[in-house]
């Protein structure tokens, strides 16, 4: 099993401090007190591309209930990340980690890897890779669980 530095129970690093930018321009999504799905992707990663429609469906089903999806691209070439985002046109916040600071801090075990954060900003679930319906089913159960939790002080 690959080593990962950010583990379940730990606080996820802040986007702002890592220099992450919003590919659509403007502000980063507000995540304080929200259930957040952080997904690391890259334009050269086929499973990442396959996961975007599933995440778009999650956004459609759960954004109204407070779920925030923040997809963080780690392409070293900003143009590649932008082209990927424009082509897929996802409805959720799609960000870019231009100097790979965030991903190096988190140390993802594989691409893609997604982190489900509770309302306190702590990692509650980690999904290595994207395996189609199996991953989607698990993530939905976990999102339901986290959304049902009341606001906890950090």
């Amino acid at each position: 099993m690959a080593r990962a530095d950010v583990k379940v129970g730990e606080t996820f690093p802040a986007f702002v401090a890592a220099g992450v930018v919003n590919l659509a321009g403007g502000d980063l999504p507000a995540t304080a007190g929200r259930v957040v799905l952080v997904d690391f992707w890259a334009s050269w990663c086929a499973p990442c591309k396959a996961s975007f429609p599933a995440m778009a469906k999650l956004h459609a089903d759960y954004a109204g209930r407070g779920l925030v999806i923040a997809a963080v691209g780690i392409d070293e070439k900003p143009a590649a990340a932008t082209a990927f985002w424009k082509k897929l046109a996802p409805p959720f916040a799609t960000l870019h980690d231009p100097e790979q600071k965030l991903v190096k801090q988190v140390v993802v075990p594989t691409m893609p890897t997604s982190y489900l954060l509770g309302r306190d900003g702590r990692v509650r679930f980690i999904h290595e890779g994207f395996h189609g319906d199996a991953t989607d089913r698990e993530i939905r159960k976990e999102i339901e669980l986290l959304l049902a939790e009341k606001n906890k002080p950090s």
């Binding site: 690959a2 690391f40 890259a42 050269w44 990663c45 086929a46 499973p47 990442c48 780690i74 392409d75 070293e76 070439k77 790979q100 991903v103 190096k104 140390v107 993802v108 075990p109 594989t110 691409m111 893609p112 890897t113 890779g129 994207f130 395996h131």
Partner: protein, 78 residues
């Protein structure tokens, strides 16, 4: 006796040679550094004719078929 000494020597030399592989400081390509590995030019099967010829040679000379390539779209993803 001679064989067991040779075997022991081989074990000692082999351990000395391969103990470096257990070194945690070996350079490894991180998951976020694999863009180049996923590039089209890195695929060994990008030319169908060349692929067919290579597979024919492997089968003819070694009776080997398949088992080549990198999973996860060339970058080892997933």
């Amino acid at each position: 006796m001679k064989i067991s000494r040779l075997l022991l020597l081989a074990l000692v030399v082999g351990t000395a040679l391969f103990s470096g592989c257990a070194n945690g400081n070996l350079a490894r390509v991180k998951p976020w550094e694999r863009a180049t590995l996923a590039d089209y030019t890195m695929r060994s099967d990008r030319d169908p004719l060349h692929t067919a010829m290579a597979e024919h040679v492997f089968f003819s000379r070694e009776t080997a078929a398949g088992g080549r390539g990198v999973g996860g779209s060339g970058c080892g993803c997933n």
